[in-house]
């Protein structure tokens, strides 16, 4: 279990998430890794919201148990007191909650959050800041970490807001320092600060990656869990010379992105499975017209509207096969915030180079959880793949869809002299003219598909995390990587050697390397956050290997590391 696991709970509208992120950042600045996990229902006010922060030297995922519970209402205690470890503590608003139970050596720290909030001159909502202040004190960290974060967070909202929040936090901090300070057993100490650490979500990292990759056009339609990405792009559009369009629907969004890309701007859209359903037809058009476009698909619990604010990995097969007919495509499923950044840059480059649509598949757990990451290496030069006017001038009889060896044909864009062509959703010849001649049809299909051959060499190999020598090889993708990594560390402590085969690129699929790793593994276990084992099916289809041990979870929640570790032990015991 991490050094400290903190959880704040209350009604929607209480500023739970905001508080959680600030607490996480303060701990990060104190030299720790953090994982911030949010749970909220699909309504705007009144439902029960929580935010959990796990703090440790290394931490990858949410925790099953907590040490420090912050209850802004009584419901939080009812629901979460049972998750407290021995010697855990409850901070509760003594103005709002009558008292907390004391089983299992649970300490309770009543703090007049409402009164202190009022004293700070803020609205009732700044209770959350008082609570963070108190939390930091119990955690044993200096107030300066929090102060710095608060200044940065609220700077944009003006001096008054900054100071109200600071006062509130300080009041909480001081109240806590004055009461029961040394009673709390899970104090952490600040460590040498690394200035190289970020705390961010998958959405955030994709947004930064997209901007870095030269995304110039973004059209989207709000949908959990990628609304935050949409907001991020919108907020930064002007600054980075991007056109952001809040489309009328997803069909408009993707068709606009394809139009913009065709005309020469790197383009992107983002949606969840329901919105992607509406993009399916245009996705195929991008494939047929060889127009690059990047689509972020953030999955939530399906099918259909499902559970908008909960997680699942149920759309893998869907995005792999969406749209009629066959065309080359890229599907990448990063597993943490860093990968979200680097894969986004990579996928933008590949999509443009190979002139294929590309999907970045993330799940709501990855899209919306905050996690620590090394600062990204952002120095990379982004290569452009569109013909220059001079190059085009030197070409005679330009054929946009020439039957090139690699399948990649040099690409002009509208406005260029000598580069006229038809981007045609009908099957076509090298110029883009409609053609139903069987030879042309076959050759054009082969030309397009040929791109997959060099593409598969260019994408990175799947990663084997941990030592080659392991008793068991876990297989996971997307955010399941996170509890799997945590589980490996847990198991190591018990002397069980496990490693993890993480698959990011789903299409094209690096079957050879994956087959080799799996065939060499002493034992295998695949964990997926879905009901049918979609990656397991894909692996069997591509390699023939049937992974007999499947751990599937599909109740809207990502695995706890313990669940994976327990299953490993069970599998190894069975051997």
């Amino acid at each position: 279990m991490p050094k400290l696991v903190w959880l704040i709970g209350g009604e929607a509208g209480f500023g739970i998430r905001e508080a959680g992120v600030i607490f996480a950042k303060a701990c990060s600045r104190a030299g720790y890794n953090v994982f911030g996990h949010v749970e909220y229902p699909s309504l705007i006010r009144g439902g029960h919201n929580i935010y959990q922060v796990s703090v440790d030297d290394e931490v990858f995922c949410q925790s099953r148990q907590i040490n420090l519970l912050v209850a802004l209402n009584a419901e939080t205690i009812e629901r979460h007191a049972k998750e407290l470890t021995e010697n855990g503590a409850i901070i509760y608003d003594s103005d709002a909650v009558s008292g907390a139970s004391h089983e299992n050596n649970i300490r309770s720290y009543p703090i007049p959050l409402s009164a202190l909030a009022k004293e700070s001159g803020g609205k009732d909502i700044v209770r959350n800041m008082v609570a963070i202040g108190a939390s930091l004190s119990y955690a044993g960290l200096d107030f300066s970490f929090l102060e710095a974060v608060l200044k940065d967070e609220f700077r944009g909202k003006g001096q008054e807001i900054v100071s109200i929040n600071l006062i509130a936090a300080r009041k909480g901090y001081e109240h806590a320092s004055d009461n029961f300070r040394d009673d709390f057993k899970f104090q952490i100490k600040a460590r040498k600060m690394s200035s190289n650490r970020l705390v961010l979500t998958g959405n955030d990292a994709i947004g930064i990656g997209a901007i870095k990759a030269g995304c110039k056009f973004f059209a989207g339609y709000p949908m959990t869990p990628i609304s935050a990405l949409i907001h991020f792009m919108s907020a930064h559009a002007k600054e980075f010379g991007i056109v952001f369009r809040n489309a009328s629907d997803e069909i408009e969004a993707i068709n606009m992105a394809i139009g913009a890309s065709y005309a020469g701007a790197r383009s992107m859209t983002a949606t969840s499975g329901g919105g992607f359903s509406l993009m399916v037809e245009a996705y195929g058009m991008a494939g047929m017209t060889e127009t690059p476009v990047v689509i972020v698909e953030g999955t939530r619990t399906g099918p259909s509207t499902g559970l908008p604010t909960w997680t699942e990995q149920g759309d893998l097969r869907f995005v792999l096969h969406a749209s009629q007919g066959e065309f080359p495509r890229i599907v990448a499923a990063p597993g943490d915030a860093s990968e979200c950044y680097y894969n986004t840059v990579e996928v933008f480059n590949l999509s443009e180079k190979y002139q294929v649509p590309a999907i970045i598949l993330v799940d709501r757990h990855l899209a919306e959880s905050h996690m620590s990451a090394e600062k990204f290496k952002t120095g990379e030069r982004i290569p452009g793949h569109i013909l220059k006017q001079e190059q085009l001038k030197r070409m005679e009889n330009y054929r946009r869809f020439s039957f090139s060896e690699t399948g990649i044909s040099p690409r002009s864009v509208p406005g260029m002299q000598g580069g006229l062509f038809i981007a045609n959703s009908y099957e076509h010849d090298e110029y883009g003219f409609y053609s139903e001649d069987p030879e042309t049809v076959r050759k054009m299909k082969e030309k397009r598909m040929r791109k997959m051959e060099s593409l598969i060499d260019e994408i990175p190999e799947p990663v084997l995390h941990g030592s080659e020598d392991a008793d068991i090889t876990l297989v996971a993708w997307g955010s399941t990587k996170l509890p799997a990594l945590q589980a490996i560390r847990m198991l190591a402590k018990e002397g069980i050697k496990a490693n993890l085969l993480q698959i990011i690129y789903m299409w094209p699929f690096k079957a050879e390397r994956i087959e080799k790793i799996l065939r060499n593994a002493r034992q295998t276990l695949i964990a997926e956050n879905n009901q049918t084992g979609q990656l397991a099916g894909l692996i069997r289809e591509k390699t023939g290997i049937d992974i007999p041990n499947k751990l599937l979870k599909y109740d809207g929640r990502q695995f706890y590391a313990e669940e994976i570790a327990d299953k490993v032990k069970q599998v190894l015991g069975e051997r």
């Binding site: 990060s28 940065d152 970020l198 705390v199 961010l200 947004g207 930064i208 901007i211 870095k212 110039k216 056009f217 930064h236 559009a237 002007k238 980075f240 010379g241 991007i242 056109v243 369009r245 489309a247 009328s248 629907d249 069909i251 408009e252 068709n255 606009m256 992105a257 394809i258 139009g259 913009a260 890309s261 065709y262 005309a263 020469g264 701007a265 790197r266 383009s267 245009a282 017209t289 600062k375 990204f376 952002t378 030069r381 982004i382 452009g384 864009v413 509208p414 406005g415 002299q417 580069g419 006229l420 062509f421 038809i422 981007a423 045609n424 959703s425 009908y426 883009g432 003219f433 409609y434």
Partner: protein, 284 residues
Amino acid sequence: MKIEDFDLGTQARWCPGCADFNIWVTVRQALIELNIQPHELLAVYGIGCHGHMANMLKCYGFESLHGRSLPVAFGAKLANRNLNVIAVAGDGDCYGEGMSHFINTARTNADIALIVHNNMVYGLTTGQASPTSAKGYKSKVTPDGVFDVPVNPIALAISAGATFVSRAFAGNIPHLKQMIAEAIKHRGFALVDVLQPCITYNKINTYEFYYKRVYRLQDENFDTGDKMKAMEKAFEWGDRIPIGIFYREERETYEESFPQLKEKSLFEQGISNVNVDRLMEEFV
């Protein structure tokens, strides 16, 4: 520039005598009049007989999906605001499958000229009733006649906030040319709803039908700045059918609203070296 400069020299894919030919000829005439070069023009097509023009009109062409010419055109215009962008659509395409784009793109006032080949029938799929088919129109999918009232593109475009709303008749080429040229020139979203006889399937809305009925609004000294007058004319459909400009208004275009497009089009902005280090600061 001559009319052949816009001719790809391919074999036409329309029925001999189809009014789509007239539109094709007329679009080229208008382009010459406006002195637009083939490479400066992007034409985005829907799927239908109208879309066959993609293989015939020399310019940058995008034969998109049934119903989707507008959003593709809109995206392209935003990426490169220097392009002349036209969308060529069908009545099924634009007022059925693409209805939402029609209304929602009109609202933005993006600088796109939309030319709808309105033959009141699904031509390419062999003559089914379309959203503009008259009530009672019989076809393979409406053996007892259409039950719905037809879409009124003019009234909808005005209601949606289009800044240039016009109708033309493919049997009157000089007038059609004028409408197309005006629409392309117009700064903002411009509709030319073209009454286009489908000689193969539509036995009601024929050349004859229109020759007898159409009259030009300009001949009546019509005030194109009066929305309510325009609405009244939009509902006139019977012994007399008005063609011409129903409504025109000047409003900032969508592209003009973006400060980030003032200097350079998106296409012209550099991508090789975007500095995102500042962005990371938000996440410390």
